[in-house]
Symmetry: C2
Subunit: 316 residues, 2 copies
Amino acid sequence: MSTDKGLVVVALGGNAFLQKGQKGTVEEQWNNVVKAMKQIADIIEKGYRVLLTHGNGPQVGNVLEWMESLKERIPPLTMDFANAMTQGWIGYMIQQALSNELKRRGIGKHVVTIVNQVLVDKNDPAFQNPTKYVGPYYDEETAKKIAAEKGWVMKPDPRGGWRRVVPSPDPIGNIEKDAIRTLLENNFIVVASGGGGIPVVYENGELRGVEAVIDKDLAGERLASLVRADYFVIVTDVEGVYLNFRKPNQRLLRRLTVSEAEKLYEEGHFPPGSMGPKVLAAIRFVRNGGKKAAIGHLYKALDVLEERAGTTIVPD
Amino acid sequence: MSTDKGLVVVALGGNAFLQKGQKGTVEEQWNNVVKAMKQIADIIEKGYRVLLTHGNGPQVGNVLEWMESLKERIPPLTMDFANAMTQGWIGYMIQQALSNELKRRGIGKHVVTIVNQVLVDKNDPAFQNPTKYVGPYYDEETAKKIAAEKGWVMKPDPRGGWRRVVPSPDPIGNIEKDAIRTLLENNFIVVASGGGGIPVVYENGELRGVEAVIDKDLAGERLASLVRADYFVIVTDVEGVYLNFRKPNQRLLRRLTVSEAEKLYEEGHFPPGSMGPKVLAAIRFVRNGGKKAAIGHLYKALDVLEERAGTTIVPD
C-alpha cells in the first residue's frame, strides 16, 4: 500500500445492498455487499483512508412494514428506532464483507460501525411540511383512519395508494463525530451516519429522537465536513450528473467548478428526490473547504474518486 | 469527578429495557432506559471508566416475530442480522439516555455504540445440540412443517407450544476489540457486544455469520477480559447470587472467593438459563486476571460494584 492519499468519505447508494428486481434474500444482500466492498477495498488499497456512509431506503421500509404488520400485538417503534435498526443491519454487512476483502488482500485494517445520531433543528421548516414517503401502502379509508388515530400525515403516493409522509429536515450536526474522528485518527475504517443518521433534536438541552428521515447524502456531507475529509464521493447506479437526464440530448457533466454546479442546481436541472440532494451535498462539501466532491457509479468508485469517471465538482 | 478508579464492564439485564408486565411501548422503553442510565451515571460520576454490554431477549424475539409475520412477502433475515438490528435499537437508547444524564450532571463524556461481532468456534459442540428457544410459538404441525422446509430444529417449549431452538456456543473472541479499546483509551463510554454479540465463525480464514445466540454475560466476560477491565459487574432483577433460591432456606451469598464460587457452580447450585451463566462469567473473569466480579440488582449498580450490595467474587 502506498502512503496516505487523504481521507475520503464514500456515500453508498441503495444498489450496494439491493439490486433492481431482487427480493432481498440474505444471499442476494451478501452478494451485493461483497461486490460493493471490492470497490471500497480498491480505494483503501490505493492508500486512501475511508469513512463510509450509506442509504437505507428499502431496509427501513421493511422494518416499518414488519412493525405495522404486528402492531396489535407488539407496540411499533418510532422512526428513530427504525433507522437505528438498519444501521445495525447494514453496518454489520459492510463491516464483515469489507474486513474479509481487506484480509484477502493482506491489508491489516479494521472496520467498525458506529450507531450514529444526526442533529436537526426542531424549528426546521421541514417539520411543517413533511414530504418523504415511508412505510406500507394503504387504501384511502385506512390511511385516513390511521391519520386520525396516530396523528400521522398521510398522502396519496404518486406510485399508487396512500402512505405516511414524514419530514426530511436538514442535517446540522453529528452527535458522535468525536468518536468517529478518534477512530479515523487511529487508522480504523469507519461506517457512520447510516440512512442519514438517527434523527435527533436538542430540546431543553437534551437529545430526543424525532420522526423524520434525513437525506443520506446531505448527512454524509455534514459528517465529511465535520471530520475535515479531503474528498467526498457519492456512488450510485448512474454514471454521474447529467444535463437533460434520460432525454435525447442528455449529456454527462464530467467536471464542474462549484460555482458552475450552483448555477445549474439553482436553475432546477436536478430532480429533488434524486440527483438534486447529491449535487447539493457535493456543492456544500466544496464550499465548506473540501478539496473535491464526486458523483458516479458504484462499480467505478476508485475511478470516480480519481476523476477517470463520473462527475467531479472542484473549488472555483 | 474524582480520579480514575479503573475500568468496569457492566452487563445490563433485560429489566434495563423492559419491566415485567409491560408491553414495550416506546415510552415504557425510554422510561426504563433513563432510569437504568442514572445507575450507570452514578458509577461514572464516582470516577470509573465504563464499558457497557446488554441483553436483547425480548427485542430479538420481536424482530424474529416481525420477520416471520411477513415472510411470504419480505425474505426474512437470519439471526446474525436480527442481533445486529437489536444492537442498533438498544445501543441508540443507551447512547442517547446516558449522554443526556451525563450532561445533566455536567460530566463531559461521550457515549458510543459499536456494531459488534463475537467469535465462536464452528466446531463448538453447541452446534450439534441447539438449546436456546427463539422466535414465535407454533403448533406441532406447523413447527414440523417449518423444520422440514428450513432445516430448523423445532422443539416443544416448556412454556407451551413449539419453537425454534438455536445453538448457544461459547464466545472465544471479539472481532472489534481493538476499536473498543481505542475508544476506551480516548475516554469514551462504549456500548458493545450487545445481545451477546453478532455470532460469527472463521471459515477458510473469513468471517461468516451463524444462526446462534451467544449468552450476553459470557460474551461480556470475554470482552471484559480482552480489554483488561478491572471489574466486571452483572446487573439484573435479583439482589445477587442465592443458595437455595426461592426456597424457605434461601441465602444471599455476599462474598465468595473464585474457588468457592467454582465449587458451588460445579455442585449445580445455579440453574443453566439463569444464574448459571452469570456465575460462570464472573468466575472466568476473575480467573482471567480480573480484580473482582459482582452480581446484583440494576438499581443498586454502584453499591454492587463497591460491595455494599449483591454478590462479590474475588481472587483466592
